[in-house]
Assembly symmetry: D3
Homo-oligomer: 134 residues x 6
């Protein structure tokens, strides 16, 4: 059980309701994830975190589905059970196929493997890969 | 400096040369990364790891550039300096724009932030996100 | 379920009882956490680990409550469910308010976010921050 | 060297200069850390990240120096060289003594040790520590 | 519950059955772990991963039991509940005594402690430990 | 450069010299690693940490070389450059062959790969692996 109770819509102060309303409108769903209901104890953090999520995950240079794949990859690497479940669901809702999900896990596993090899042997970065973009 | 010296092509045994040749042919470049030159001390591991990389990063359900973005995301999360440099270079070579690179870092940072919030509060996974795909 | 059974006081050998007694006296409670009951299988490790905890978490240059906040921050970052629960409880027992708990999680989340940005871009340490204290 | 070049004040667009100015005013220093100069390539992310830092690290329920100690603890656990250097410097600037720094490292090391023990034995959370605050 | 359902032997395609058969023959047991049943959705990844496990964990320069101890140590450090359980069982099956298990956890905890100290103080590698093997 | 200067033998207080002397006698070398010279600023932590290392790494149920291999495996997984260098050197001094080193890295890489797969798919622990030792 979470270390703080959840704040339901009806019991929420106006500042929290405003964020809940925006989440619902943006995501086109009535459902508010447990994540936001727990964060609601700290209305400033709720507003700030939602603003971050909305801005970063909104339209940009990378396709929305691809961003979700990256989100899942980071969540697996950080071992966040909550985030793996919710962002896998979000990725599926945005069109991730089962074949893509399997390939995503394969890439995460491969990178984790080669990361450890590079670290284990303390391999030097090749000179040609050290240059910043002009 | 790496914990083992690198094996150059001219000093490599036939099994290692065969992998080097395949890397060159597959990647259409003469350059062999330090990673492979260090792994070459263990020809079986070199062959196995290259086969893994070739199979996972080759054509599949996810776009090759997207796979590189995921690879970079995992490498950043695992804090592998070597892999961050080489796979950022690989992603750029495959067409990653600077705007995409910045957005990638933003998503990785956002996920790391929300991962810690979910873990810190020990937030329960919503029932609706617990179901496996039918 | 833990990978080894717990050792209860009545079934414990003298060396283990001595540590349990010291934990009870130091913490002014009869309750012995599962952590110690599992460690009791290895009396030398139990004694050593308790001595470490007692020494490090005892009076020193940093306030006891602050040390608990740091302990929780590390446990969240290491993703240790057991330690998050027990040290959050310990921090609350030492006076952590709910507002402080929320702010603690906010700092942990912020640091995790900026850590990934610095690592992702491989930002060089500013010269002025490289110098050790005189 | 960082994967993107730094943006100096004189070459910065107005939106970036505004953030730089606010950093200088808030921190009462002319110096802009490399972190911000690299982020400046993404003015929206620069503004968002600085707003986060300013809000979370500003006055609140936890003492500013304590927040820096927590920041350092998380950065050590995440192994972020850049952040360890800059936030240790920030903590010293806010009054952290050398004795406190040593004790901070001792707490981080202790928590990392007990975290691994709890995870290694898969110790069950005691029932009494599972309850959320009323 | 896993994010994808498990593939049982009777419902498995020939390529998956072949791997299951090889696992059974190699491990001299009829039991197939959940790990493989989940991986079976991706027959190529199942075959590749099993080939990796079979090759790396098979006869070599390090004793099979010692390899399992290392496997458990990494799984504890990566905080993989599934892998901690299955590889602790595998190590016990290969002869790990309870005294060895306790000592393994002690070494993992010690290393995690000293790792954080070295990182926290940003201790420089001694010149004499920087040289690769001739 | 380390965040605190090193304490050399001639400038060390008696309590620190006593630990240095014990390290030299135990390890049969005059050389004191940077690790201990940095820790020496905190004589209590120096004494405590050395006592831990001496006890855990001394004679026990697991062979001394195997303990070093485990130490290196954890250090690679935690990405501690300092510890990877010093404990690889220690393992070599205790007889680790180059073939064993390569196999060690292969096991660490394999475990990191399968850890991520188990976490990524959120695979349930098989009932039979959940039971503690009788």
């Amino acid at each position: 059980m979470a270390l703080v109770p959840m704040v339901e819509y009806d019991a929420a102060p106006p500042a929290v309701r405003a964020v809940y309303d925006d989440i619902r409108a943006t995501r086109k769903t009535d459902y508010i994830n447990n994540f936001w209901k727990v964060l609601a104890h700290d209305p400033a953090m709720l507003a700030r975190t939602w603003a971050n999520v909305k801005e970063v995950m909104g339209p940009g240079a990378i396709d929305p589905l691809v961003k979700e794949l990256i989100y899942v990859a980071v969540s697996v690497t950080n071992n966040c059970e909550y985030c793996i479940h919710t962002h896998t669901a979000a990725a599926r809702a945005k069109g991730m196929t089962e074949a893509q999900f399997r390939e995503l896990i394969a890439v995460v596993a491969l990178a984790s493997q080669t990361n450890r090899i590079a670290i284990g042997y303390q391999i030097d970065v090749d000179e040609r890969f050290r240059e910043p973009l002009a």
